[in-house]
């Protein structure tokens, strides 16, 4: 018999919970809905005759996908872990990257019918408390029937639902999310999807990938600039082509003009219609390439790109220059995957402006885009915030990590110092042969 006897008033359930059962996470639930929810979530419910209440014992053990390489973001250098559909796995993946007591995980449940678990993760003391409050408030206030993916939540809590630019970021890789949390952002993990939201998101983030930080800084800077240029190309190339061919013929060198004229001699449509047809065709091909089963998908992309394009030119539906322009546009668009949808929409707007009034229209389309970007805010942080002052170390170019000693001012509050100012020595420090320091 035990020496410390329980007092006689102790509930049988309590005894069971504390002394008998050796399962973690057993809860004494008092209402039927709680018991029902627990049951539906995979827990075991223990009801004892004569006791008011029941025990909800954690016994979740369903089939889940193993941690594998994420399909949407592949890297050459860097971790190849990706989130899975399990909330606990995901939070644990992040916890393993940030082994710090400041990392806070706040759990909520959203969705009336689906009762999906949602976790907010942030670094206490670094993240902006106002942003955390806002997100908690918005997620808490969600009154929806179902939440199947982070995209649902994103649409409900984002700042500018009608802007082509997203103000909440997402990622499938734990190292990316961990880096963002370390900068002061808040991550929203949702059970059932490997995509984790990060808020606030700024414009410069669309051009950053995880690999930028693992590769060498000079090369990363060049690639970063290339991405900006690619984005400009993908948005403006068809529009510029339309403007050149329809309005500003003087910009084209004379001999090129001859070949353009010859190419367009046989085509029936004005440049704008041609461009719209090609953009349309490209979007169809792209969508088809994603949906088709893998073995067939490869063939379609080759068939589509090469043969259809060539055949269209031979048949005289579109001109060869148009095909080239669209090809460049398409390929450039894939350099900045985060802005792919934004790019597609903006491309069409620019094309309309170009068809309307040539280069002037493109110029004002560009200005309109700039104005829109300047007015966007993501959870109180201006969308172009990274381009102010100090934070530009990570926007156009990627300065070496040792020079980025402060967290971005636009995001972080509180503890903003990452490290001491460190400049690598020009001559490496090598101890002498006798083991003494020089």
């Amino acid at each position: 018999m035990k020496s410390n006897r329980l007092p006689l008033e102790t509930d049988l359930l309590d005894v069971l919970e504390q002394e008998v059962l050796c399962a973690s996470c057993a809860k004494n639930a008092a209402s039927i809905p709680e018991l029902a929810t627990g049951c539906l979530s995979g827990d075991t419910v223990l009801l004892v005759d004569g006791c008011a209440g029941g025990l909800v014992i954690n016994s979740k053990g369903w089939e889940k996908r193993a941690v594998s390489e994420p399909q949407s973001e592949s890297v050459v250098r860097g971790p190849r872990e990706g989130f899975t559909e399990n909330l606990r796995t995901n939070t644990s993946l992040i916890r393993r990257k940030i082994r710090n007591g400041q990392l806070k995980v706040e759990q909520m449940t959203v969705g009336r019918k689906t009762q999906t678990g949602v976790c907010l993760m942030y670094l206490d003391g670094v993240a902006n408390p106002k942003v955390v409050e806002t997100i908690k408030y918005r997620v808490g206030k969600l009154d929806v029937e179902s939440v199947l993916e982070t995209g649902y939540i994103e649409e409900y809590i984002e700042d500018a639902p009608f802007s082509p630019f997203g103000t909440i970021g997402y990622s499938e890789k734990p190292d990316v999310v961990a880096a963002k949390i370390l900068e002061g952002r808040v991550a929203v993990v949702v059970d059932g999807t490997p995509f984790v939201l990060t808020a606030p998101m700024l414009f410069a983030e669309s051009f950053q990938t995880a690999e930028d930080y693992y590769a060498r800084s000079l090369y990363s800077s060049l690639i970063r600039i290339l991405r900006f240029i690619a984005f400009m190309i993908t948005v403006f190339a068809p529009a510029v082509y339309i403007a050149l061919v329809s309005f500003q013929h003087e910009l084209i060198p004379t001999t090129l003009l001859f070949s353009f004229a010859k190419a367009r001699e046989g085509t029936p449509f004005p440049a704008f219609i041609e461009a719209v047809i090609m953009v349309f065709a490209f979007e169809i091909l792209r969508e088809a390439g994603v949906r088709l089963p893998r073995p067939v998908g490869q063939a379609i992309s080759i068939v589509g790109a090469l043969i259809m394009g060539d055949a269209a030119v031979s048949a005289g539906i579109v001109g060869a220059p148009m095909v080239i322009v669209i090809a460049i546009t398409a390929v450039a668009g894939f350099l900045v995957p985060a802005l792919n949808d934004a790019g597609s929409m903006l491309r069409i707007v620019m094309m309309v402006m170009a068809a309307f009034i040539g280069f002037y229209g493109v110029a004002f389309g560009f200005l309109g885009m700039l104005v829109h970007l300047a007015t966007l805010e993501s959870f109180g942080v201006p969308y172009l915030g990274d381009f102010d002052g100090d934070d530009t170390k990570d926007t156009w170019i990627r300065m070496p990590l040792w020079s980025m000693t402060k967290r971005p001012k636009s995001i972080a509050r509180g503890d903003t110092t990452r490290g001491q100012r460190f400049i690598p020595p020009l001559r490496p420090h090598v101890p002498d042969e006798e083991g003494e320091e020089p």
């Binding site: 013929h249 001859f258 070949s259 010859k262």
Partner: protein, 393 residues
């Protein structure tokens, strides 16, 4: 939210309607509807007081569109159209009217004037070109010895579009000296100077039928906007040398029995103008040049070091003579083609005002002093010529 959405939709619809109605398509022109002009020539017409305009355009044939078949320039033939009228506007209207496509001026490569028209005066014909945004000021102009249309109808073996040919030709010449290619803006600047005489290159069409050629035939000298005389190709040399900035030009020097071909790598000319006591001016040109030897005929008795010195002297003499020759021709024509008056007006504005009136007499009385310094740093791959070889033995 609902009201806001409704409002946005209304705005969007309104804007779309505006776009449709206020379309800027008034400006939109498709390439294949345009006739790409490559050359334009003005001549006197048979009726006095009228001019005839000839325009040359590229004929884009309907070749096989598609991959593998890139139409080279060989398949471009030229279309030549002609119209007569009171002014350039009238002629252009007629040309427009009679063709199924609109004329595209932007790529015009050259403007030509027939020699008779040049003698009558071309200022009024330049007005349209300067006013119209589509016509460009940096297009070269030239005078044709004969009628302008000959140059445009010429069938050259090198290129079917003589306009393009001339454009490229002048471009290449301008690499030698900027004075070879006179753009409209240069001509206008000279005109505005008042007393300076503008100069425009002359071209001549020679040969027959399919084997025609266009050659440079010197320069035309203008007084204000009327042509009053010409310089031959040789006299032109002096003209361009006096402006300096000459690169990669060949001259031939000789001392009676021997000849040498010299390649001017660079030639710069510094001009200084000073007032004389008696109201005239003195101009001094200081020319420095780096020359290399390209061909030697003779010079049997010389050794290489003294040969170089000798050649330098010869070259100096030659350059000086060229410029002096040109200058005397200019004085005969009473045309300040060198732009000395501009220099005076910039340096001595006050005196210039009273000198303007009597510029003719000042010009004929100019004290011209020319100093030439030639340096020959290298002689090419061989040091001695074959003829000199014999002497060395």
């Amino acid at each position: 939210m609902h009201a806001h959405l409704k409002r946005m939709v209304t705005i969007f619809l309104l804007l779309s309607m505006l776009i449709v109605f206020l379309t800027g398509c008034w400006d939109s022109r498709t390439i294949e509807d345009q006739l790409i002009l490559t050359g334009i020539a003005l001549d006197v017409a048979d009726d006095p007081g009228k001019i005839s305009v000839t325009a040359q355009a590229a004929n884009i044939q309907q070749g096989k569109a598609g991959s593998g078949e890139t139409g080279g320039e060989g398949s471009n033939e030229s279309i030549v159209m002609k119209a007569t009228g009171d002014s350039l506007t009238a002629c252009l209207t007629e040309l427009d009217r009679d063709s199924s496509q609109k004329l595209l001026f932007h790529h015009n490569q050259i403007r030509l004037f027939g020699i008779e028209l040049a003698e009558q005066g071309i200022k009024k014909h330049l007005d349209l070109i300067m006013r119209d945004q589509k016509a460009r000021l940096e297009v070269p102009i030239a005078i044709v010895d004969g009628r302008g249309e000959e140059a445009l109808t010429a069938k050259l073996s090198e290129m079917p579009l003589s306009g393009l040919f001339l454009g490229n030709n002048f471009e290449a010449q301008s690499a030698i000296s900027p004075q070879y290619r006179v753009r409209l803006i240069d001509f206008v600047q000279r005109l505005l100077d008042g007393t300076a005489a503008p100069v425009i290159p002359i071209i001549k069409v020679t040969g027959e039928d399919d084997k025609q050629e266009i050659k440079m035939a010197g320069m035309a000298v203008f007084h204000d906007d009327q042509m009053i005389g010409r310089l031959t190709n040789e006299e032109t040399v002096g003209y361009i040398l006096s402006f300096g900035n000459v690169k990669k030009y060949n001259i031939v020097v000789s001392d009676g029995q021997n000849q040498a071909g010299l390649h001017i790598a660079t030639l710069d000319c510094k001009r200084e103008v000073t007032l004389r006591q008696d109201g005239g001016i003195q101009v001094s040109l200081t020319i420095t040049s780096v020359v290399s030897v390209s061909e030697l005929h003779g010079f049997k008795e010389m050794k290489p070091p003294e040969l170089l010195k000798y050649l330098e002297n010869l070259a100096q003499e030659e350059i000086k003579n060229e410029i002096t020759d040109c200058f005397s021709v200019a004085q005969t024509l009473d045309a300040d083609i060198f732009g000395f008056c501009t220099m005076v007006s910039k340096k001595y504005p006050k005196q210039w005002n009273e000198m303007k009136e009597r510029w003719s007499e000042v010009f004929s009385d100019i004290d011209l002093s020319i100093q030439v310094k030639v340096r020959i740093p290298e002689t090419g791959q061989i040091v001695q010529s074959l003829e000199m070889e014999e002497n060395m033995k």
